[in-house]
Amino acid sequence: MGEDRRRFLKLAGLTALCAAGKGSLARLAGAETTAAGGAAKQVRWAMVVDPRKCLEKEGCTACIDACNHAHNVPSFDNPKHEVKWIWKEPFADAFPDQDARYVDPALTAKPALVFCNHCDNPPCVRVCPTQATWKRGDGVVMMDWHRCIGCRYCMAACPYGSRSFNWEDPRPHIKDLNPDFPTRTKGVVEKCTFCDERLDKGQPPACVAACPEKAMIFGDLNDPDSEVRRLLRSRFALRRRASLGTQPEVFYLV
């Protein structure tokens, strides 16, 4: 009997300790990250890319150009200092775990459009020491360029190479300055934000709006009647390096 009571007390103590620890940890960690206003909306933004439609006009870069202009993405001559939000990547490099050697080359010879996957389980958010990057309630993985200290831990953690660092002041390298969007300063990390500034105005991301072939489809995964859900129901889709458990929310139709 005495033994049982001791075990009970130990367990109770341990449970209380865990609960207290969890509470204080949550206060430490979650104070700002959970405050996002997305909870009420219950939206989960996602992108579906249809590579069969993309690039039907050879050399089309409409989405990339639209993004670069909308966000003042600089272009550097030095490839080491490159900043990229959305770009084309050879199929084999974008999907290293897909061995597609006998697949119709019409599909795999084309480069894939790649950008931030806005993972549901983003490793960049997990490692950021200042919460300068975090996942919003609507699933957008955001960046706070005011808070980023430029440690580049997120770049080491991102399995998609979606993040770029400002190795030098980007201002002089922006060809056509868009006054409605800030540039970045040297020493911070940047990436695609699903055009959070346009989403707030009810507009789709700039790349989606710019695509002449409607090869990029943006929508709400939580709405079973949305176009993205309809497409994903009817066609098989790839996600980049899905085995890593990051739950990327950008889908590539096969």
Binding site: K80, H81, E82, E89, V127, A132, I149, C151, A156, K186
Partner: protein, 385 residues
């Protein structure tokens, strides 16, 4: 006690002057980096961490290695290391300070670095690394100050310091474990995502650190009246030998797993290191030098004759230190990014400013060690011969 560092021989001042000059050069290079951005380094979008973070990683090991003299002395009452513990703790303080400086110069926005404390983020390992490094610095500062003050006053150290010293032992293990976790928790980087990374870090630390301590003892014997004695050096040599054997064993295990399983994303990083990948073989000569130095060191260390001879022992210690510096201070970090997550191999060569800044920090660390050793030896009346 600090005033003891303000008087010294001509050689002492000349040495500090040389270190000061290197620090000034590093400082000038840093001003340039501060003004232009990290673009003055050889880093790139694909290779985002390089010399700085690698030096940080290597020096965390040197810092942790103080535990190899503290643990036998305080936990096992191994009196032989009595004279050495203070040197180990001073080495730890200098190494941790250099670690923090290397992290600092790697920041893209150094003026915002306190955001790490302003917005504490327990799910980030970098937060915990900061906590453990800061804690280790405080522990060793308190311990070395209190024990040295007691020694100067010829009294026994206060009783309350003992639990703090005991605490510093697991803490030393923690700093290098947490540093390994920075890397080994990243699914994106298979080269680092290995459970053996933390044990490997500890093994390499416990050989490189004590090897450095042996070298310091040998140098101090020549230029001061401090003689660590033959026995402590030989005991340290045995620690270096075992740790180095374990380290080489761990590296071979990594190589076997990656190369025999032949999973491309695991094997490619090792190929980059030892044979070159996609026409890039910048690190190959370095890595083979490191391998050769490790083998040579082991031959000299395992053989009792050469281990007992202090000249060959010194050579072995240099080989251990340089070999591990290449392995950890160059290969380990850079190879994590080669190839990149998108399969690219981008050449990374540290630039002149980058090297100068690193040298400046090393000079700062050496100056700290010099001052600390000077204070400790002055207290003991063992300064110059």
């Amino acid at each position: 006690m600090l005033e003891k560092a303000l008087v010294g021989s001509r050689g002492y001042w000349r040495w500090l002057l040389v270190l000061g000059a290197v620090m000034v050069l590093g400082g000038i290079a840093y001003l340039r980096q501060f003004a232009f951005g990290l673009g003055v380094t050889g880093l790139s979008r694909d290779v985002t961490w390089g010399l700085y973070i690698a030096q940080f990683t290597f020096l965390v090991g040197v810092a942790a290695s103080a535990v190899m003299v503290v643990l036998p002395y305080y936990l096992h009452d191994f009196k032989t290391f009595g004279k050495l513990t203070i040197l180990g703790e001073f080495l730890a303080i200098s190494a941790v300070t250099m670690c923090m400086l290397f992290i600092f110069v790697d920041m893209g926005q150094p003026t915002r670095v306190l955001n790490v404390m302003l917005y504490p983020t327990p799910h980030s390992l970098m937060f915990w690394d900061m906590v453990s490094l800061m804690g280790y610095l405080v522990l060793n500062t308190v311990i070395s100050h209190v024990t040295l003050a007691a020694e100067r006053n010829a009294v026994a150290p206060p009783r309350w310091i003992k639990p703090i010293i005991i605490l510093s032992i697991p803490w030393a293990v923690s700093i290098h474990t947490v540093t390994a976790f920075l890397y080994s928790g990243l699914a994106a980087r298979p080269f680092w995502m290995t459970a053996i990374l933390a044990p490997r870090f500890l093994a390499s630390a416990f050989s490189a650190g004590p090897a450095l301590l042996i070298l310091f003892c040998l140098v101090l014997r020549r230029i001061t009246r401090f003689d660590a004695g033959r026995e402590p050096i030989q005991r340290l040599a045995i620690i270096v030998t075992y740790a180095m054997l374990i380290n080489v064993f761990f590296v071979l295990m990594e190589l076997f797993t990656a190369l025999y399983s032949n999973i491309p994303e695991d094997a490619e990083h090792f190929k980059f290191l030892y044979v070159g990948l996609a026409g890039n073989s910048t690190l190959v000569p370095w890595m083979w030098t490191s391998a050769a130095l490790s083998v040579a060191a082991l031959v000299l260390l395992v053989n009792p004759k050469t281990r007992h001879n202090e000249t060959t022992l010194a050579a072995a210690c240099v080989a251990v230190f340089v070999g591990l510096w290449i392995e950890k201070g160059l290969g380990l970090i850079i190879a994590g990014f080669e190839p990149s997550v998108l399969g690219k191999v981008t050449v990374y060569t540290p630039t002149l400013p980058e090297v100068l800044i690193s040298l400046g920090i090393y000079a700062f660390g050496l100056a700290l060690i010099t001052l600390f050793f000077k204070i400790a030896l002055s207290v003991r009346g063992q300064v110059a011969a």
